[in-house]
C-alpha cells in the first residue's frame, strides 16, 4: 500500500485535491463555508497590490481617453506639441480631480436619499476569470460591510456582496449569470428577474408572454427581495422577442450601470437583507 502511494504520489495528491475541491464546492453551495481563513489571508495580501494596480489601470484608461480627445491638436505644429503635452498632463490631473470631485459629490447627495446604513467603497479589482462577473471592494467587515448587502451607484444597481474579509468584499455583479434581482417595469408594473447570461448579456427572465413590454422600458428594483432599496434603476429594455412556444418572453436588457466604468460605489444595508457575520 505504502509502495503504491509512494510510486503514485502525484496522481494520489491530485485526487486528494480534487476531492477537497468537491468538498469545498459542496460546502460553499450549501452555505456552510462562512469563515475560511485562506481566503482572508489571500485577500489581505492581494488588497494593497490590487489597489495599486487598479489605480494604475484607471490612470492608463484616463490617459488613453485624454489622448484621443487631444489627438487632433497634435498635428498643428512641432513648436506647440511639447507645450500641449505639458498642458495635457496638467489637464489630465485637473480633469481627474474634477471628475473625482463630481463623482464623490454625486455619491454624497445620493447617499442621503438611501435608507439605512450606507458605506462608500472603491473598486480595487475585477473578475480574474472570464466565467464570472464580479469585482472587489476596498472595504470589508471591519468597515461594516456584510454578506448580502446591496451595491449601488447614483446611476443604479451594481450588484450584491457575496463574500467579505476584514478589509475587502467580493461583489457579484448584476451581469453575472448567477445573479438575480427582482424588478418592475416602470411603465406597466410587470415583474421579472434581471440576471446576467453567458450567452446573451443581461436579460429579464420570467416575464409572461401576455405582459406588455417594449424597447426603452425602464426596469426598477421592486424592493421585495429585502436586498435592494425600492425604485433603483436596474436597466433599460433593448430587445423583446416573443418565441413561438413557451410561457415567457425573451427580453434583453442594457444594465443601468456599466461596471467597467465605475470606480466608487455605495454599499447599502436594506432592512433585514444583510447577513450578520
Amino acid at each position: 500500500m505504502l509502495a503504491f502511494l509512494r510510486k503514485n504520489q502525484v496522481p494520489v495528491s491530485c485526487c486528494f485535491c480534487l476531492l477537497l475541491s468537491v468538498y469545498i464546492l459542496t460546502a460553499a453551495a450549501r452555505g456552510q463555508l462562512k469563515n475560511e481563513p485562506l481566503g482572508a489571508v489571500l485577500m489581505f495580501i492581494m488588497r494593497p497590490l490590487q489597489i495599486a494596480a487598479q489605480g494604475t489601470v484607471n490612470w492608463i484608461s484616463g490617459l488613453h481617453e485624454n489622448y484621443d480627445t487631444l489627438a487632433g491638436f497634435r498635428s498643428e505644429n512641432e513648436r506647440l506639441r511639447k507645450r500641449i503635452q505639458t498642458l495635457e498632463v496638467e489637464q489630465q490631473r485637473l480633469l481627474e480631480a474634477a471628475a473625482t470631485n463630481h463623482r464623490l459629490k454625486q455619491l454624497l447627495d445620493f447617499r442621503g436619499q438611501l435608507p439605512g446604513k450606507v458605506i462608500t467603497a472603491s473598486i480595487i479589482a475585477n473578475n480574474a476569470s472570464s466565467w464570472f462577473r464580479s469585482c472587489t471592494l476596498d472595504k470589508g467587515s471591519a468597515d461594516g460591510v456584510r454578506k448580502g448587502m446591496a451595491v449601488v451607484t447614483p446611476l443604479g444597481v451594481v450588484g450584491q456582496v457575496v463574500a467579505v474579509t476584514p478589509r475587502t468584499a467580493k461583489v457579484l455583479l448584476l451581469t453575472d449569470p448567477n445573479s438575480g434581482i427582482d424588478v418592475l417595469v416602470q411603465r406597466t408594473r410587470a415583474r421579472g428577474i434581471v440576471s446576467g447570461s453567458l450567452e446573451n448579456g443581461t436579460i429579464l427572465k420570467y416575464v409572461k408572454r401576455s405582459e406588455d413590454i417594449q424597447e426603452g422600458d425602464r426596469l426598477l428594483t421592486s424592493g421585495t427581495d429585502g436586498v435592494f432599496p425600492k425604485g433603483m434603476m436596474a436597466g433599460i429594455v433593448i430587445k423583446v422577442t416573443k418565441q413561438h412556444i413557451g410561457l415567457f418572453q425573451f427580453v434583453e436588457v442594457l444594465p443601468a450601470v456599466q461596471s467597467a466604468r465605475i470606480e466608487d460605489v455605495l454599499v447599502v444595508a436594506a432592512a433585514g437583507g444583510a447577513e450578520k457575520n
Binding site: 468538498y23 492581494m46 472570464s130 467580493k170 453567458l198
Partner: protein
C-alpha cells in the same frame, strides 16, 4: 523551496494581472488565463506533489478573487495539472508550437471541468452557447500566450538556479 516561492509569487502576480491590467485588453469580457498556462508549465516541468498542491492553491486563489462558488477553479486547475502530468509522460516537448497545443488541450479540459461543475452547482439558463464561446476564446488566447509565458518562466527559473549556485 526557492522555486516554490518563485511560483507562488508568480501565481499571485498573474492573478493580479488578470484582475486588473488584462481587463484593458480588447477581448471583451474574456480575460487571458495566465494561471492556466502556469499550471500547465508546472505539470510539464515540475510533476511533483508540491506543484499539484500549488495548482490547487492557484485555482482556489482565483475562486477567492472572483468566483461565485469557492472550489470551481481549484477543481479545474487540479484537473488541468493531472491531465498535463499524464500527457507529459507520453509527449516529449520543447517546441513552442507543441507547448501551445498542450495549453490549448489544457484549456479545453479546464473549460469542460467548469461546465460540468457549473451544471451541477449553478444556473444553466442561457449558458451553453456562451460557455462554448468562452472555452474557445480562452483556449486560443492561452495557447497564443503560452510560448511567451513558458519562456519567461524558464528564464526566471534559470535565474533562480544561478542565484542559488552563487549563494
Amino acid at each position: 523551496m526557492r522555486l516554490f516561492l518563485l511560483y507562488f509569487l508568480v501565481g499571485i502576480f498573474l492573478i493580479l494581472l488578470q484582475s486588473t491590467f488584462l481587463h484593458l485588453l480588447p477581448f471583451g469580457p474574456v480575460v487571458p488565463d495566465l494561471v492556466l498556462v502556469l499550471c500547465v508549465y508546472l505539470g510539464l516541468h515540475h510533476p511533483t506533489v508540491g506543484a499539484a498542491v500549488g495548482s490547487f492553491v492557484l485555482g482556489y486563489s482565483i475562486d477567492v478573487v472572483s468566483s461565485r462558488l469557492l472550489g470551481l477553479n481549484a477543481f479545474a486547475m487540479t484537473l488541468v495539472f493531472l491531465s498535463v502530468y499524464f500527457s507529459s509522460r507520453t509527449i516529449w516537448l520543447h517546441h513552442p508550437v507543441v507547448s501551445s497545443l498542450i495549453v490549448l488541450f489544457a484549456a479545453v479540459v479546464k473549460g469542460a471541468a467548469l461546465v460540468l461543475l457549473w451544471v451541477v452547482f449553478l444556473s444553466t439558463e442561457g449558458f451553453w452557447l456562451g460557455a462554448a464561446k468562452y472555452i474557445l476564446m480562452e483556449a486560443l488566447l492561452a495557447a497564443a500566450l503560452a510560448p511567451l509565458v513558458f519562456s519567461l518562466l524558464r528564464r526566471g527559473e534559470n535565474y533562480m538556479k544561478k542565484l542559488g549556485a552563487l549563494v
